[in-house]
């Protein structure tokens, strides 16, 4: 195990690539590796980028990588694409926009599929972030389609969360706002040469201004920028806003040091406990055959799922409420 940790810290690409797959596949062995890597994490600045399909996230990430490389920063990219609910397969196509960086030793790009795991996407993506962090990447960019709680959680765990929209998707903003608008630290209107960019800008501004009281008390007020990622327009200004946000985080409670705020740590630990508990419990119940027997008796009408659940869970917890 310790040699894997050493290789990751030394930046060995193949070891990192394999480890991320093992994390994604939920191999229990990786836990020891992750424990060993933890002291080497907390240095990278993590940026989450989210938005509806087709708004230009991958192109944006590609430009961000180019700009960060000009600043002599190393970059890790995690690009998450959806798994087909029917076949379990996935087409991971974000790399198409970023392939010009594939020969650059200072850049590591990895495509991840959402798969079906409950709560697992957040867990495995976070662990993958830790691996890239330990490998020494200065910046880690995580790109996801912001649909579903898991994906919102993924981008929320970033230092800076970027929401990307495009003009003329007014209804889309409506759809997005329930889930994810609240978590944006920076808003980008990409493809801003298109008709309706100013309307989108004023819609967003209106929404953000509604929280003016919060900003008056010192909260971060999310800036809105118009960019054209494909033409490399507005990216410099965008990265300056990220700098400004990083500065804000560093000077307010918690700061960016290591694992960020207390809130984030407790959220992360809470989720880890949840996932681990469920895993251990289900493992035990399937191994003992109790799970299948319970299913059988519910199917035969001998018991109801509520009772069955209690009968399975309480003995494991060894004390009922």
């Amino acid at each position: 195990m310790s040699h894997i940790v050493e290789k990751v810290v030394a930046g060995d690409v193949r070891t990192v690539a394999r480890l991320i797959r093992d994390i994604d596949d939920g191999m229990p062995e990786v836990r020891e590796v992750l424990k060993g890597l933890y002291p080497h994490t907390g240095r990278a600045y993590v940026i989450g980028i989210t938005g509806a399909p087709g708004v230009g996230k991958s192109t944006l990430v590609d430009q961000m990588v180019a700009h960060l490389r000009k600043r002599d920063k190393t970059v890790g990219v995690l690009a998450v694409d959806p798994t087909s609910p029917f076949s379990g397969g996935a087409i991971l196509g974000d790399r198409v926009r970023m392939q010009r960086h594939s020969m650059d030793q200072g850049v590591f790009i990895r495509s991840l599929a959402t798969r079906g795991h409950f709560g697992g996407l957040t867990q495995s993506t976070r662990s993958a972030i830790d691996v890239l962090d330990a490998m020494g990447k200065d910046f880690i960019l995580v790109e996801t389609v912001g649909v579903g709680q898991d994906e919102v959680d993924v981008v929320r765990s970033a230092h800076t969360t970027v929401i990307v929209v495009i003009p003329g998707m007014g209804d889309d903003i409506q759809a997005i706002k329930a889930g994810i608008l609240e978590v944006g630290d920076i808003f980008l209107i990409n493809k801003a040469d298109r008709e309706g960019a100013d309307k989108t800008l004023s819609d967003l501004r209106l929404m953000i201004d509604m929280d003016q009281k919060k900003y008056d008390r010192g909260s971060w007020k999310p800036p809105i920028l118009k960019v054209q990622a494909v033409f490399d327009k507005g990216i410099t200004e965008f990265l300056e806003e990220i700098d400004r946000h990083a500065e804000y985080l560093a000077t307010t409670a918690g700061g960016l040091q290591t694992r960020g705020t207390r809130d984030k740590v407790s959220q992360e630990l809470g989720e880890m406990i949840k996932a681990r508990l469920i895993e251990e419990v289900i493992d035990r119940l399937t191994e003992s055959g109790d799970f299948d027997r319970a299913v059988e008796s519910i199917v035969k009408g001998k018991t109801d799922p509520y009772t069955a659940c209690e009968n399975l869970v309480f003995p494991i917890l060894s004390s009922s409420p």
């Binding site: 690539a17 790399r95 392939q99």
Partner: protein, 137 residues
């Protein structure tokens, strides 16, 4: 962290200057429908770029597509670079407009299988299922 069944991860890549990726996209889709995770790299890739991406993505196989006649250089080059990078456990197969005479040469160079136009998708998927196993170590 729930243990999952290892999935086959493949990369579909278009080396060289040929700009026609319809076939590659159809193959990618067929692979997805078979339950594989498919990384697509897009057009105009150099063999080095493909190999580097395949390593970063930890794929079990690279499927190369070529319709413009440069397969005799490009396909073996991918095999060579994989060896150089110590990643020759990654299976390489290819497809496209490839004359029969070239197929044996490509196989000698380490390309495991070559599919020519008209091969049913099912046959290609079956071949992958039988010849490419998700990494177990």
């Amino acid at each position: 962290m729930m243990r999952q069944k290892r999935r086959v991860r493949v990369m579909v890549a278009k080396p060289g200057l040929d700009g026609h990726d319809r076939g590659a996209r159809i193959i990618a889709r067929a692979y997805r429908d078979a339950g594989f995770e498919v990384v697509y790299t897009g057009l105009h890739q150099t063999p080095e770029e493909i190999v580097e991406a395949a390593i970063q993505e930890d794929v079990d196989m690279i499927g190369l597509s070529s319709l413009a006649g440069a397969h005799k250089y490009l396909f073996p080059a991918v095999v060579e670079f994989l060896k150089e990078r110590g990643a020759d456990d990654i299976v390489v197969c290819g497809g496209g407009i490839i004359p029969d005479d070239d197929i044996d040469k490509l196989k000698e160079a380490g390309v495991k299988e070559v599919f020519t136009p008209g091969t049913p998708l099912e046959e290609i998927v079956n071949w992958v299922e039988n010849n490419v196993k998700p990494r177990q170590d």
